[in-house]
């Protein structure tokens, strides 16, 4: 796992925006975007140390590509959904996760059940998306195809 991927994941887990995080580090947001995308790498070791201490990890862990962060099922799902639908994937997937969280709030499910259920629900999410694509959107009344006299 690359340096950029790791800091993006850690940043998301911490729940801070790129803007705020960049401000904390004293760099521009643009620079942070480059780092996260893997297009650039921080020149000063100081900055890497700053990032590492911010997340309570070692700088070696961040810079060593063989070190990876285990992603949760949700994070993997979000990535997949984003890759599958560049336009809406992210927001739809977020909504979906929101819903599943509601379901699990019942508190009667064991961790294993939740895992099994999440698995099925993600499968259904992608499947229904495929089907929806195949049949196209619902025709809205008064949409483009109004008959011309």
């Amino acid at each position: 796992m690359q340096f950029g991927e790791k800091i993006r994941l850690l940043r998301k887990r911490a729940g801070i925006s790129q803007k705020d995080f960049a401000a904390q580090l004293g760099i521009t947001r643009r620079a942070l975007v480059y780092y996260e995308n893997g297009q650039r790498f921080p020149r000063e070791a100081e900055l890497i140390d700053k990032i590492a201490s911010f997340f309570n990890v070692s700088s070696d862990f961040l810079t060593d590509d063989s070190e990876s962060i285990a992603m949760t099922k949700e994070e993997i799902f979000l990535e997949e959904a984003k890759a599958e639908d560049k336009l809406r994937g992210k927001s739809e997937a977020k909504k979906f996760i929101e819903t599943t969280k509601c379901l699990f709030a019942g508190g009667e499910l064991s961790e294993e059940d939740k895992d099994a259920l999440f698995e099925v629900l993600t499968e259904i999410y992608f499947d229904s998306k495929k089907k929806a694509k195949k049949y196209g959107a619902r025709k809205n009344k008064g949409s483009k195809n109004t008959p011309t006299d």
Partner: protein, 169 residues
């Protein structure tokens, strides 16, 4: 409860079968078998596709029952199963709740034809539980059927009162 029985009758006549898997197929519901832990089955409605997911560890009679039960949800509770954060009733944990009861009545009506049940009950050496076994349903579902038959004017004695949470066991 009348509307449930009407719908069950309509489906059976229209598709000429009491097999819930065939009915689900005719209704364009996708049926999947997946590991679900201790959940028996779920009904999901998302993006105008409907899914019944049945726990793949169940045996055939149980699968049949769960499938019929979930079709009941599809018929009467589709609006509850929408995938959005506002609708939390996608899985009702409260098995004695109204939607669950309705789905069970529906399943009983689909899986248990009147005449067969009456025939079995009138058999001298048949008791309630053996009749249920004979028809591959749990006694609780038989009890739902008994209540339906009672409403139709048959005089029957049911030994137990189904609360509707039997699918949980």
């Amino acid at each position: 409860m009348e509307f449930i029985l009407r719908e069950a009758k309509r489906l059976i006549q229209k598709h000429k079968t009491r097999n819930p898997f065939e009915i689900a197929d005719c209704l364009n519901i996708n049926v999947l078998y997946r590991p679900l832990g201790k959940l028996k089955g779920i009904y999901i409605y998302t993006r105008r596709s409907r899914y019944i997911c049945i726990n793949n560890e169940l045996d055939s009679p149980a699968r049949r029952l769960v499938c019929a039960h979930e079709i009941g949800h599809d018929r009467f509770h589709r609006h509850l199963a929408k995938m959005n954060p506002q609708a939390q009733e996608l899985i009702s944990y409260d098995m004695s709740s109204k939607p669950e009861r309705e789905a069970n009545v529906f399943a009983a009506e689909i899986l248990l034809p009147d005449d067969e049940v009456i025939k079995l009950i009138n058999d001298a050496d048949m008791n309630f539980f053996r009749a249920a076994r004979e028809l591959y349903v749990p006694p609780e579902l038989m009890d739902f059927k008994f209540q339906i038959l009672k409403n139709r004017g048959y005089r029957l004695e049911a030994p137990l009162n189904a609360t509707g949470d039997f699918l949980k066991k």
